[in-house]
């Protein structure tokens, strides 16, 4: 399945083919092939031999740390061989190629058993590094850009707060100017990987007397700064994929300010915009057709017409997610803007997770209620308990629908009582 060339590169087709061959041979040297691993194999299939259908990791601290190191290590290995940061400018440590090369490499990579994605690494490399690339000062770029791009140090997001979930811009963590720095007080939550990160990109309120979007500023914060406390937050599926981060009189030098004072909302949108662009990050999260079909066979449930209907829905949803990402890649290649398509993708993906839950219930029935000891059965509880999380995390279903309605369809926005009023006066 090829992806269309951008028109600006008429000879690209040859280059791309050559690149693809080169990538394939490099991958073959450095990673085991996935061929013959059998349908149950996930990422890393061969060596892992793990059966992970969980939506959120439930790893011990040490295991997750080791995983992150493996993921970051593979990322660096690719960069060193000229297969990472392909679409980054050369001066920033990239290769300077077009997005079609990124897609091509990714397509090749799926054939090999390589380490899976990890959100903290992805956030650092794909979200925060490019944000620094866009709005960082020369010093910040020098100090952090390559480091983050190469995942040598990792940086988490410190955006959400207990009182600012869907309404992120209502955030209330206060930063007060103090000489050549700022003193920050407040609480962040839902920070993935904060316990493994050296840095955090934090949004704070620097001016409470202007409307909520206007009074926010972004900073880069070393997490070993005194006053920073990271406390893992256990989610309903077990495991602690997220953290609460308490900020008590934390001092941040002004040199670590990311963008202008009061421009933090724009900076955050830039970061989140990269999130929407980053595709394929969802594959490998939770279980799906690849695990359910053999499981249904093994349990003698594959002949049940009702089970088959539900498995079909899972297959359709997953297959169309692949097609959609090719469609989007083609759209990007021909210069169509991204926009609210990310919201469509996310809602489809959330639905896909739910369809897999439904199918798993049909296949497994009471085997989800209590562990009979049969391999690969009770493990699905981690999918079923995790799937509801992504109806909320990363922008709730409701927020995504509003984005689609307003930005894609042009429907009028709701009456907003919090618009054009100082943040201080808005009910909270």
């Amino acid at each position: 399945m090829g992806v269309r060339q951008s028109d600006g590169d008429p000879d690209g087709a040859q280059d791309l083919e050559a690149f693809r061959r080169r990538a394939r041979s490099w991958l073959a040297e450095h990673a085991p092939s996935r061929e013959g691993l059998g349908p149950g194999a996930g990422a890393e299939g061969a060596q892992g031999a793990s059966y992970d259908v969980s939506v959120f990791h439930d790893l011990s601290f040490d295991d997750e740390k080791a995983l992150i190191e493996r993921v970051a290590g593979w990322h660096r290995q690719k960069i060193d061989a000229g297969f990472g940061a392909l679409d980054w400018p050369r001066e920033d440590g990239g290769v300077g190629l077009g997005p079609e090369f990124v897609e091509a490499f990714a397509a090749e990579e799926t054939r090999f058993a390589v380490p899976p994605a990890h959100e903290l690494v992805s956030v650092t490399v794909h979200l925060i590094a490019p944000t620094i690339g866009l709005v960082g000062t020369p010093e910040q770029r020098d100090r952090l850009l390559r480091t983050f791009l190469r995942a040598e140090r990792l940086c988490c997001q410190l955006f959400s707060e207990p009182g600012a979930g869907s309404d992120l811009a209502a955030l209330g963590t206060r930063a007060v100017r103090d000489g050549d720095g700022w003193v920050v007080n407040g609480q962040k939550v839902w920070s993935s990987g904060a316990q493994f990160a050296a840095w955090g990109m934090v949004l704070v309120r620097t001016d409470p007397d202007v409307p909520k979007h206007a009074g926010i500023t972004a900073f880069l914060l070393p997490l070993d700064t005194p006053g920073v406390t990271v406390r893992p937050l256990r989610q309903m599926s077990g495991g602690t994929s997220f953290n609460e981060v308490f900020l008590d009189d934390v001092r941040i030098p002004d040199s670590l300010r990311l963008g202008a004072v009061g421009a933090g909302w724009k900076v955050a949108l830039t970061t989140l915009g990269f999130e929407r662009e980053a595709t394929g990050g969802h594959s490998g999260v939770g279980g799906g057709w690849r695990q359910l079909a053999p499981l249904a066979c093994a349990l003698g449930r594959f002949d049940d017409p009702l089970v088959r209907q539900k498995l079909a829905d899972v297959y359709i949803s997953e297959r169309l997610a692949e097609v959609a990402s090719l469609r989007e890649a083609a759209g990007r290649a021909s210069g169509r803007p991204g926009g609210p398509e990310g919201s469509l993708r996310k809602l489809h993906w959330v639905r896909s997770l739910a369809l897999a839950s439904v199918a798993a219930e049909a296949v497994l029935g009471a085997r989800l209620v209590a562990d009979t000891g049969e391999w690969g059965t009770f493990a699905w509880t981690a999918h079923i308990l995790g799937a509801p999380g992504y109806r909320i995390a990363g922008g709730s279903d409701e927020i995504q629908r509003t984005i689609i309605a307003e930005r894609l369809l042009g429907l009028p926005s709701e009456e907003r009582v919090d618009r054009n009023r100082p943040w201080r006066e808005i009910p909270r």
Binding site: P305, R391, I392
Partner: protein
């Protein structure tokens, strides 16, 4: 169909709710779900003595209250609201119901007083590795060695089976092969298209046996459960002595009744659970402010709460129907039980999931109670036959009764 609630029933509800508020607040549920036993023996005694609800179904001559299924339904609904950790469903409903249904006066005399008094925790062991709740799924065997019956086999999904004093165990007493006469997809818990739950299946009959929790040859182990507030066990029986209950080979009607009773009982619990999460969702929607407004002002949240209320209303109708049939019209019980199991499962599953969504991030945390209801909802939906199975059973019973 008398669907009015009497004053006595409202008093009972009030008393149970007050008791559970005191003895089973969330903190206590959290504590108990981490203990090995999973419930508090003292609270159990009080449920029996002070509140008198453990022996509600037990006739007065055996020391119980001689009340009906309707009263038990109220207790179950309240327990479902509170997620009480206690062997009520197993002991006071299912084991009691089975003993009352069997034709075995001696067994009633021997066991019911202990149950009503809160001394005996009892349960029923039916399902096995085939994950079915019917006689046809029974592969465990019982043989008479001259001095008495000996049981062999494995039981699963035994509610409170790890600590129960009395286990009512279904086993095959004929020469049959156990499972296997079902055509279709006999191993599934979903819609077995080939076998009915009323179908005995094997050529040998199935009987029920009373087995002591301390019986030699009985190995019990806890099964990991999705719902930490309801314990389940695996029993491995290796030449375990058991006392035959009722006539040999005649347990099938009682096992069918057991499943219907369980369906109605779970429906009551589910309705209580759905009512509680609706309260949670509405309470949060009224107080949580985003975008300068209580989120309950947004139609997305507001209409979702209305949908939960609508599901709860359907669940209430389904429970009323199930309890009526269980109490007064057993000929319709098979149909009503399946109706109740399907509709209340759907309602609670929807309510529990949407409650999390209304809560947003906080609802996805371990600390928040929302997930305990989600676990209970998912678990109850899949026990004793999932909704697809009960839809199939419903059609089967409607067809048998009258032709469609």
């Amino acid at each position: 169909m008398d669907l009015a609630s009497s004053e006595e029933r409202e008093q009972l509800r009030h008393a149970v709710r007050a008791f559970l508020a005191e003895h089973s607040p969330q903190t206590e549920v959290r504590r108990l779900m981490e203990t090995p036993e999973g419930f508090d023996r003292e609270v159990w005694s009080r449920l029996a003595d002070e509140l008198g609800v453990v022996g509600l179904l037990v006739p007065e001559e055996y020391g119980g209250a001689g009340a009906g299924v309707g009263e038990v339904g109220i207790v179950l609904e309240e327990m479902g609201r509170a997620l009480l950790c206690a062997p009520y469903l197993s002991t006071a409903v299912l084991a009691t119901g089975v003993l009352l249904h069997l034709d075995d006066e001696a067994a009633r005399t021997d066991y019911l007083p202990g149950i009503a008094a809160g001394h005996t925790v009892a349960t029923v062991a039916l399902a096995e590795e085939s994950v079915r709740w019917d006689a046809a799924g029974v592969a465990a065997t019982a043989t008479h060695d001259g001095s008495g019956w000996r049981l062999r086999g494995t039981k699963m999904f035994v509610l409170d089976g790890l600590h129960a004093d009395l286990l009512l165990v279904a086993a095959r007493t004929g020469t049959g092969t156990g499972t296997g006469t079902g055509t279709g997809t006999g191993t599934g818990t979903g819609t077995g298209t080939g076998t009915g739950d009323d179908d005995d299946g094997g050529d040998g009959g199935v009987s029920l046996f009373a087995v002591e929790g301390t019986a030699p040859g009985l190995r019990r182990s806890a099964m990991r459960t999705l719902d930490p507030t309801r314990r389940q066990a695996r029993l491995d029986l290796d030449d375990v002595p058991g006392r035959l209950l009722g006539a040999p080979g005649g347990a099938q009607p009682t096992l069918a009744y057991l499943v219907h009773l369980a369906a109605v009982a779970l429906a009551c619990e589910q309705t209580g659970g759905a009512a509680h999460v609706l309260d949670m969702a509405v309470g949060y929607a009224k107080t949580r402010v985003q975008f300068g407004r209580p989120i309950g002002q947004f139609q997305a949240i507001k209409h979702r709460c209305a949908e939960i209320a609508l599901e709860l209303d359907a669940a209430r109708s389904a429970v009323a129907y199930g309890l009526w049939a269980a109490q007064e019209h057993e000929v319709e019980l098979a149909v009503a039980a399946s109706v109740a199991k399907v509709r209340c499962s759907e309602a609670f599953a929807f309510a529990a999931a949407e409650n999390i969504q209304v809560h947003g991030g906080i609802g996805f945390t371990w600390e928040h109670p929302a997930h305990l209801y989600f676990r209970r909802a998912t678990s109850s939906e899949l026990m004793f036959g999932d909704p697809a199975h009960h839809r199939e059973q419903l059609i089967r019973h409607l067809t048998v009764e009258a032709g469609p």
